[in-house]
Symmetry: C2
Subunit: 419 residues, 2 copies
């Protein structure tokens, strides 16, 4: 028998010997705190729906988030409460994510492309207490606030286009302290909520934990996944309300990239101008956004020399899209994911064998949706649940596993709220 004690009175436990490392809860506020402290002057640029180009930095985002947290606390928002957003990508939306999650409340991103009926169903299902919307969505947001009894207050990120009962977030936060003691709670608590429309039945909610968001961020920062560095200028074209914006709202501040939020105008000419003017090096979007940009680049014989690599996700990348991006000097990385995976499942980073391939073989290899990064595991099983070989031939049901994978198979079904 062995007993073991140390200066701090530790003893051997039933299940083994406890390590002696510092406690450090994995909560998402760590990302914006790290960015504000070590990359505080790195810019966050937002192309707002009212035409204003807003320039702040990570220190500013942290400050705005802290003020919002304090305003939410003063309003009575408690840990576990759901606060919804209906907004495109912007610095203000980013500050709201951190302001909501930092105090243990849950940031529920609504998809503005859903119908009013769908959104009302989702808000009721989630029991959202507040709704924060872009000015461009003020009318829809007002309708939802009237229809959904759980919504106590409507806030607006930007001035409303038309009449609105909503208060500007800036006014709601005004006068509150720049400092807020974030985190300090269980890392398993929920940080975010996102409903997928699904193909059958009612929308299904995925409830991300602080832990799952922090680990997903670390998994995707790897060089063979999104490969982000402080030297990058990142444009998340994929919206923050869709599939967690590929985690970029966390991974960009985690490494201190410059961040360019494109807002709602995503046509080829606008994307080109903004990417060129802001020196974007990395962007993530669905194939349609890339097709629009390519049409513009080809029609005007333009290039984006700073744009070194782009992630193409949300739908399969066609061979033609890959070749067209290649021809403009843009390296396309195919990625596969889903809301239930936080969302990254696989990334097509080259392997050692890739270097020895012919150019045609390399293109075929890059069209595959890649392999899983550490932290994601997958297998294919037959109808009896027995694992099948992962040889690209065997067909069966896909099973995913990991700390950033929704519990309960691949879909977390959240039941109705009771108020």
């Amino acid at each position: 028998m062995t007993a073991w004690t140390d200066d701090r009175g530790m003893t051997m436990r039933e299940d083994g010997l406890r390590g002696l490392m510092q406690p450090w809860s994995m909560t998402v506020n760590r990302f914006i705190e790290h960015a504000a402290r070590w990359h505080g002057d790195r810019e966050v640029v937002s192309f707002r729906d009212d035409g204003v180009v807003e320039r702040t930095d990570y220190a500013g985002i942290r400050r705005d988030a802290a003020r919002l947290s304090n305003a939410l606390l003063a309003h009575g928002v408690a840990p576990g409460d759901r606060v919804a957003t209906l907004a495109m990508n912007s610095g203000a939306h980013l500050a709201a994510w951190y302001g909501i999650a930092g105090i243990g409340a849950v940031c529920h991103t609504l998809n503005p492309r859903f119908s009013e009926d769908q959104l009302a169903w989702i808000i009721d299902h989630a029991g959202d207490r507040m709704l924060m919307a872009d000015g461009a969505f003020a009318e829809m947001a007002g309708q939802l606030a009237r229809r959904c009894p759980s919504i106590e207050k409507l806030l607006l990120f930007t001035p409303p286009q038309g009449e609105s009962s909503g208060q500007l977030v800036e006014d709601f936060s005004a006068g509150h302290s720049d400092e807020c003691a974030w985190g300090g709670f269980d890392e398993e608590l929920a940080a975010g909520l996102c409903y997928t429309s699904g193909t059958t039945g009612d929308p299904k909610g995925v409830l991300y934990s602080h832990r799952s968001n922090v680990l997903h961020t670390l998994f995707t920062l790897q060089p063979d996944a999104l490969n982000l560095s402080a030297r990058d200028v990142v444009m998340p074209i994929v919206p923050m309300y869709h599939a967690n914006a590929w985690g970029l709202a966390f991974s960009a501040p985690a490494v201190g990239t410059r961040l360019v939020m494109p807002g709602s105008r995503l046509d080829g000419a606008t994307l080109f101008e903004r990417m060129r003017d802001e020196g974007v090096t990395f962007a993530a979007a669905v194939p349609t956004a890339w097709l629009g940009l390519l049409d513009y680049l080809e029609a005007h014989d333009e290039r984006l020399p700073a744009l070194s690599r782009v992630v193409v996700g949300g739908a399969a990348m066609s061979e033609q899209l890959l070749r067209r991006l290649d021809a403009r000097g843009i390296e396309a990385i195919a990625a596969w994911g889903m809301t239930e995976l936080s969302p990254v499942g696989g990334v097509s980073a080259p392997l050692p064998a890739t270097a020895a391939m012919t150019s045609e073989e390399r293109i075929a290899s890059r069209l595959k949706q890649g392999r899983v990064p550490f932290g994601v595991d997958m297998r294919i099983v037959d109808e009896n649940g027995a694992p099948l070989p992962h040889d690209g031939v065997a067909a069966g049901a896909l099973q995913m596993r990991g700390p950033a994978v929704a519990a309960g198979g691949s879909v977390a079904k959240i039941g109705g709220s009771q108020r």
Copy 2:
């Protein structure tokens, strides 16, 4: 008031709403399991002390580790028991790390450069039950096994040089199953133990947890830290018994790099030959190893075209060393760390501003020991504990914080074992 239930019967807790993501304990066996599953045929090459060049792969390391785990369990090794190693870097040593930690036992790396008296003190202090040593250290290991009553069994990784009572690890593991159910325990349990010699007083033990090792690995994989990819061929010259080998025993399998273990001959000519023959792209070592390699390269006007970047740690990198490496086309990255930090504290990755610097400014910037990656935090405090500005001018005491930082200030002092 809000109540919240879901299909799985979840209810709102006192402290908030629990996220709905899969449980996934962060235990180090995940690294070798990932490597064996997705990079199983990636080679692990060992230059053994008996002259044998051993070639296996991650599938082989996982298999050897599982056999060893089963042999340890059969011998009665229980969770929390300490198993010591006295060995240079090799695939067998790597398999031992995973075989020991996978069953919840603690891998205690001994430094062969310590005196026999120091090692005996440390073994007694840690209460190690077994000792696994390289054949080259068989005599010292035999002495220690005789002196230290806690040691029940002596195992050898390679045939002994001279007489020894030790059993070969291969023979000890023979006949045991290739499969072992690793992990499944609390991620806060200890995985590794390393004593620093310190500058005053007795050696101090640092007790790494599974969680701290997994998180440290993820922090250091970032592009602005060690930046490892599956396309890398990694040579950890820094020994596994010193400062956790910069975490490379975990980070290399986590991404599936090829791994070249240099063994004990670390002179310039030998390093050159092995790096050239194996196509090493990344290596980590203290400045003296680099000086030896550079002397050889310069005397023979040789280059190592595959070697794209090296980490220089353990002691400050001199300007001359940086310039000499530059002149041979090898990018040197200064890193700062200590055993108590698992060990990476800071890495001198370039910032956006670096691109605009003159070549001389860039060299001055690269000689700094860098900034902290996400997951490590530091501050400088005055004698009253008040934070000072991090401006490169203020001098005070350094405080480190993070989940891979030893608890109890920066040094974990582990008390004597009682048997």
